[in-house]
């Protein structure tokens, strides 16, 4: 077991899968120089044919990746979440729809690694947290790892998956450190975290927090502080949103009777909205109090730190929400 950075976990996952399978390659803007970090040293090890710098043409090279995946390759595309709008047509009309519309004739084993920078003064054009959009579309798996271990294990799973995967890398977590087992320490010799299986990071009996991506550390901190105040909080991390492990969420709410959903995405039609709608419909009789949504404010991301810090869910917001449900 080693303590490594989230960013290193991503790097390890890519390198291991590229070693394992010649069909896997990485493409994106400035990936050879690894401007963003997760591709560090990959071009040295794998050469320019498997670590490909692309022109600034998101729609074009997203499509090229999709096409390559349709005929036997396994591309990993690196991009920022905010640039996905530019390549949106390829994501929706091709990656998401091709398989169904062609009656299942084709698999598309392509992974889009979508970095979400936010919280660091990047302003409205560089701070999107748009995974809820892709949940609505269908046909795209959506991963939202919150720990280095899950980052590595889910990314390896994503690369081996036969369906297109959007893999959201939360910028606020990239510098966090956590235990990641060596492959030799795990059964099968490979750290593979399955899709569709939530992680219960903390057991509790009074209230459930469902915390998505970068919300997890805040949820854990809130839970720890509330424990001191005698409130027992269970923290559930869905890890993937498509597929969504609603069973674990519903079981937790059945136990606690209360639920706060924390989502760094914009509030309206968020992942939190979806989760709450499921609990409201399928877990209604478990609920002893209204659920509360703690999500980002429904404005664009302002540049100035004094405003930006008010945007996203904080530990205090979560604590306040839990206290309110406990009233």
């Amino acid at each position: 077991m080693a303590q490594i950075l989230f960013m290193q976990a991503l790097n390890q996952a890519i390198a291991e899968e590229m070693r394992r399978d010649q069909k896997v390659f990485l493409m994106g803007e400035d990936v050879r120089a690894s401007v963003y970090g997760a591709a560090a040293n990959l071009s040295k090890e794998f050469g320019p044919d498997r670590v490909i710098d692309t022109p600034l043409s998101e729609n074009g090279f997203f499509g090229a990746a999709i096409g390559a995946s349709a005929v036997g390759m396994r591309p990993i595309v690196e991009t920022l979440t905010s640039f996905m709008w530019v390549g949106m047509d390829q994501l929706v009309s091709q990656a998401a729809k091709m398989r169904y519309m062609f009656g299942g004739q084709v698999n598309l084993p392509v992974v889009f690694r979508c970095v979400m920078y936010y919280g660091g003064g990047s302003a409205a054009h560089h701070s999107d947290r748009s995974y809820p959009v892709y949940m609505n579309i269908g046909g795209l798996k959506v991963a939202v790892p919150a720990t280095p271990r899950d980052a590595k294990g889910l990314l390896k799973t994503a690369i081996r998956d036969e369906d297109p995967v959007l893999f959201f890398e939360d910028g606020t977590l990239l510098g966090t450190r956590g235990d990641v087992p060596e492959n030799s320490e795990v059964p099968g010799g490979d750290l593979l975290v399955p899709f569709g299986k939530a992680a219960v990071h903390r057991q509790g009996t009074d209230c459930t927090i469902v915390a998505i991506a970068g919300a997890l550390p805040h949820a854990m901190a809130a839970a720890a502080e509330l424990e001191a105040e005698g409130v027992s909080v269970e923290v559930v991390d869905p890890r993937t949103l498509v597929p969504l492990d609603k069973t674990t969420i519903l079981e937790s709410v059945a136990k606690t009777g209360r639920c706060v959903v924390v989502d760094p995405a914009s509030k309206v039609c968020s992942a939190a909205s979806e989760i709450m709608s499921i609990v409201a419909e399928e877990g209604f009789w478990s609920l002893q109090a209204p659920m509360i949504k703690v999500a980002s404010k429904q404005v664009h991301v302002p540049y100035t730190p004094v405003l930006e810090k008010l945007m996203y869910p904080t530990k205090d917001d979560i604590k306040a929400a839990i206290k309110k449900t406990m009233e």
């Binding site: 729609n59 036997g72 047509d89 009309s93 062609f102 009656g103 299942g104 084709v106 269908g138 036969e162």
Partner: protein, 330 residues
Amino acid sequence: MAIEKQKLMLMLRRMWLIRHFEETVIKVYTSGEFGGAAHPYIGEEAVAVGACVALRDSDYIAGNHRSHGHPIAKGGDVKKAMAEIYGRRDGYCKGKGGSMHLADFSIGILGESGIVASSVPVATGAALAAKLQKKDFVSAVFFGDGASNQGACHEAMNLGSVWKLPVIFICENNQYAVTTPYKSTVSSEHIADRAQAYNMPGVLVDGQDAIAMYEATTEAVKRARAGRGPTLIEALTYRFEEHSLGLGRIRRSEYRTAEEVTDWRKRDPIVIHEKKLLETKTATQAEIDAIKAETGKEVDAALEFARQSPFPEAAELYEDMWADKAMPIP
């Protein structure tokens, strides 16, 4: 370029297959047997056929909403194509795709795409795979004059060129995007001129002439297989029918004159090809008639097949979304 008789006859066969197919679709559409949109390829047969006969089975093609001609030209099965348009389980996509989304991955047909220009990057990606896999297949993509204005075309052509990919961009300039003449939407004189902007050959071809298309494509294929990158072929052609079945409103709008249509109809690609076959004594009238008759029967059989094929079962609604069978449908 001397072309073997077998290929020349194959061109005729596939053009007739498309012609019969489209005429049948028009006939049955009007009788209300199915709905949705269907964009006839009549008049443009030489473009796809000339190009596809220059390809191997292991090569890839992708196309657009005007979507029956390309797969048939590549050797697609008219039975499965017709059944798909009929929304039946034996259709190419089990009824899920319909007219605009025919595909046959078993013979390199990566699929027709309803979003204009959207398949151009995808086809470019197949060519990228050829390069990465060090295989010598090529990828050809058909798109319209209207599509050429989409950013997707620009990006894909640039990618194809800087990466020297074995991709062939085939623009079917049939003069209009729905009702809008390309002269009012394409700023260059010819679309082929744009090739210069991507440092690739740009070839203007008579799209009514299957042999000309075959020759231009053969050049492009050579270039592509040799690792010298893409070619842009602009085929000047015309759709003899309206943009799409079921859009009566278009017919009422006067975006093209009756004379123009008549003039172009005089340049029927099948007539042109048959004339050449006869003039060069490559084929006899009897051989030609036989092909016409055989393909007619093939399409009749396809229609029968389609009509007999069952509709999908309700449970199939939830199939084919995911390769991963464990995926829940919420």
